[in-house]
């Protein structure tokens, strides 16, 4: 047979060479020859990206079985192409002609089938899907509620939402983001509930993304948010399908990026960050209590250190004599001013937190003991920091960790620094001024052209019923 190689085989060999060249002779490219009615066809695939057992079973077996069966009459050459498309058991078969497109689909885990004499190549998806199983997210634990979480697979994530919405008109829109390396994204919303003005805005922002490559949902968030100069996240990212579902049924829009278990919810308000799916699984007044506790924690986390600083360094006369004496005795021999004391301890706290995040959990516990107990007590006994300051900083840290969404907690801890600086310069006036600035800032912020501080600004009494308290349904 090699002696009378038809000219068309040359075509496909050239094509294979072209593809290999376009992929810089990567060793990952594998080829396989198969004969269909004595024609030499070539399959190309990326070894790591395809599921081999699947393509044996769903592609090769049917083809070989069909064409090599004895009672099959000789099919005309031009017909083979169509036949192959019809017998392969795969969902979406496409054809491509340009080498560039073929290379692209090769990279996405497709099998390329080249038939001599055909300009187009058959693209058969046989992706290697190695997915993490659906598990409860580590960083958003709840006490009562469902235990599933989003994974890195786009379709699994859509599935998790879709199955929660069997009775609603859930709409999915496909997007690709990034100019050069296009990442797949899905936009989900419930047709009857969504605010179409916001939807239009989001779609236009997604289309206008200028970045070349977007890989994480954090990057995507940065590209579409309203204001980058703020510590407040304007998009909520969650790994919990139940939380995403709760927002979907409120008329919010969910954005899922491929390879990202963090799903974005938009537009959100400030108060969304202080709600948890837990609230709705508890009795309503228990849920209300926890919501209020969380909002109080926000205020504690930002003003407690600055309140302490302004009292100690400006307005000690506000304290009754007994308390003043106790405080003075402690702070008298501390070498640092209350402001530097607070800043130092905040930084130490951040160090401890940062150190323990990356470490495996047994070592992280050691850090906790060494950092929290040993350093905490030793630093006071050594007379470097006053006892009250340790109490203040510890309370602040705990209060900032109360926020159910991590992004907000971190933002709040950062926010405490300007508060401390102003309180250290102007005392109570600095504290009230910085608090006013914060309120103004929150009122000015928008999330996709919707007020961020709703329902407090603009004031909506009915809205308050569901953000501050968890009202009975």
């Amino acid at each position: 047979m090699p002696s009378k190689r038809p000219s068309s085989t040359y075509d496909i060999n050239i094509k294979v060479d072209l593809i290999k060249k376009a992929m810089f002779q990567s060793d990952d490219i594998k080829t396989r020859t198969l004969y269909i009615q004595e024609m030499q066809c070539i399959c190309i695939y990326l070894d790591s990206m395809v599921d081999k057992s699947s393509f044996e079973k769903n592609v090769f077996d049917p083809i070989l079985h069909f064409f090599n069966s004895e009672h099959l009459k000789k099919i005309h050459k031009s017909d083979i192409f169509h036949r192959i498309s019809s017998i392969i058991q795969s969902a979406e078969i496409k054809t491509e002609q340009k080498t560039q497109d073929i290379v692209q689909s090769l990279r996405h885990g497709n099998l390329i089938l080249l038939i001599p004499g055909e300009k187009k190549a058959i693209i058969i998806p046989v992706p290697n899907t190695q997915n993490r199983t659906i598990a409860e997210p580590e960083n958003e634990k709840i006490i009562k509620g469902s235990r599933d979480g989003f994974t890195e697979d786009l379709n699994t994530n859509v599935f998790l939402l879709q199955k929660r919405n069997k009775h609603e008109n859930l709409v999915t829109k496909n997007f690709t983001v990034g100019r050069k390396a296009q990442t797949e994204a899905r936009l989900l919303y419930i047709e009857d509930l969504v605010d179409h003005e916001v939807l239009k805005e989001i779609v236009s922002r997604l289309r206008n993304i200028k970045a070349n490559k977007i890989q994480s949902s954090g990057e995507l968030e940065e590209q579409i948010e309203d204001n980058s100069y703020t510590v407040f996240p304007q998009v909520l990212s969650t790994e919990r399908p139940d939380r995403a579902q709760a927002y979907l049924s409120e008329g919010k829009i969910v954005l899922i990026l491929d390879e990202n278990p963090q799903v974005l919810v938009l537009p959100v308000t400030f108060f969304s960050f202080y709600q948890s799916p837990d609230d709705y699984n508890n009795r309503w007044f228990v849920g209300t209590f926890f919501r209020i506790i969380r909002l109080v924690s926000f205020i504690i986390a930002i003003i407690l250190p600055s309140l302490y600083i302004s009292v100690v360094s400006f307005h000690t006369e506000i304290l009754p004599l007994g308390l003043l004496y106790a405080l003075r005795v402690q702070t008298e021999f501390v070498p640092l001013t209350p402001f530097f004391e607070a800043i130092t301890m905040q930084v130490v706290l951040e160090l401890l937190k940062e150190a323990s995040i990356r470490l495996p959990s047994p070592i992280a516990q050691t850090i906790g003991v060494v950092g929290g107990l040993v350093i905490g007590t030793a630093v006071v006994e050594a007379g470097l920091v006053s006892n009250v300051m340790i109490v203040v900083i510890a309370l602040t840290a705990i209060a900032s960790f109360v926020a159910p969404v991590n992004q907000m907690g971190t933002g709040v801890r950062l926010l405490a620094f300007p508060f401390m600086i102003l309180s250290n310069t102007f005392g109570f006036l600095g504290l009230t001024a910085s608090f006013t600035l914060l309120i103004i800032h929150l009122c000015k912020l928008k999330s996709f052209d919707r007020p961020y501080f709703y329902p407090l600004s603009p004031l909506d009494i009915n809205g308050i019923k569901d953000s501050f308290v968890r009202s009975k349904k």
Partner: protein
């Protein structure tokens, strides 16, 4: 989108009471002690009635031109040239008033809270907060005022604490003992404390509810402010004796001094920062309207806000340099405020009736 959003009834109410409640009240018992003495509350009520009369006249003028801003209205009634001159006077008034509020507040803060802090720094902080808010639109401003009104409510709650102090109701009697002339003199002083209502002139075109509802809202806000002023003044009179009021420059702040609690010893130190924030924020409204003379693109108006902020800060530095300069400043402001608050609106009302100028609903 939200730029064109009109102001609702409750927003208007809360905005007005915060602009109208000022530092004047804190000094009022002391100044009234020089004239009307224990009959001061009568003076305040009479002043409130005067204000009510004036705002009704404002309303009569404004309802003829429901969609025009005040600056457009003057031009419409008096023609382009005369209207322009009037607008300049109004602009100067707005700038001078905001500077005056800034000086008064920073003085107060310096006297009570931050004795060792420099004047310019306190003024800068307060002005910076105001400018930050001012560089947005009116809707955002009223939203912020709605939230900040909580601090006024909190202050009123604080004042209830003072009921635990010994109260001497006899301090108020005999009613009417100071005589009519003294009460009228007191009226003039109390009128100064109630200034701020002139901002109504600028708000009509942005309000959602016009006509009778608007009048109702501004009347209620006036009644509320007068009630608070009378309430605080009366408390000061019954808690402190006349000799003390004569001595104390800020009776309403100092009447909290005798209160002691196990955690907090000095309520007045909490009272003052809480009071000063809504008061200082009224600067925002003045600077906002001074900068939005012409309705141009929002970006450009922000530019004017920064310029006006700079002008206010320079004036603040100059006027607070010495007591003489401050007195001179107060004198000028006093005369221009008579012109802007009373004369100009009356002239406009008169002319609009004589010339039969009215906005035709299209």
């Amino acid at each position: 989108m939200s730029a064109a959003e009109p102001i609702t009834k409750s927003q208007l109410f809360l905005l007005l009471i915060q602009v109208q409640i000022g530092f004047g009240i804190l000094y009022l018992p002391n100044t009234l002690q020089q004239t009307a003495k224990s009959d001061g509350w009568i003076s305040i009520i009479l002043a409130g009635c005067t204000v009510q009369l004036v705002i009704v006249l404002y309303w009569l003028l404004l309802r003829r031109f429901p969609s025009l801003s005040y600056f457009e209205l003057t031009k419409k009634i008096l023609g382009a040239h005369l209207g322009y001159i009037f607008n300049v006077i109004i602009y100067i008034y707005l700038i001078l008033t905001s500077t005056y509020i800034l000086i008064a507040s920073s003085k107060l803060v310096k006297n009570v809270l931050l004795t060792f802090s420099p004047h310019w720094a306190i003024g800068f902080l307060l002005l910076a907060v105001c400018i930050y808010l001012c560089s947005s639109n009116l809707q955002i401003i009223v939203r912020v005022f709605t939230i900040l009104s909580v601090s006024i409510m909190f202050v009123i709650l604080l004042s209830f604490l003072s009921f635990s102090l010994p109260i001497e109701v006899m301090n108020l009697t005999p009613v009417g003992s100071s005589g009519m002339s003294n009460i009228i003199k007191g009226l003039k002083e109390s009128l100064l404390a109630l200034y701020g209502f002139e901002i109504i002139l600028f708000l009509y075109s942005s309000a959602r509810h016009k006509g009778k509802t608007f009048l109702k809202v501004i009347t209620f806000s006036n009644i509320f402010v007068v009630a608070i002023t009378v309430y605080l003044t009366v408390i000061a009179f019954v808690i402190l004796n006349p000799a003390m009021i004569n001595q104390l420059k800020l009776p309403i702040v100092y009447m909290f001094r005798p209160l002691h609690f196990t955690m907090i010893d000095r309520i007045d130190l909490i009272f003052l920062p809480l009071w000063s924030i809504p008061v200082v924020m009224s600067i925002v409204v003045y600077i906002y309207f001074a900068s939005h003379w012409k309705t141009t693109a929002p970006k450009k108006n922000n530019y004017f806000v920064y310029i006006n902020g700079a002008i206010v800060y320079v004036l603040f530095l100059l006027a607070s340099k010495s007591d003489q300069s401050f007195e001179l400043y107060a004198k000028y402001l006093n005369s221009i405020s008579y012109v802007v608050i009373f004369m100009i609106p009356f002239i406009l009302l008169l002319f609009s009736y004589i010339l039969k100028k009215k906005e035709h609903p299209s």
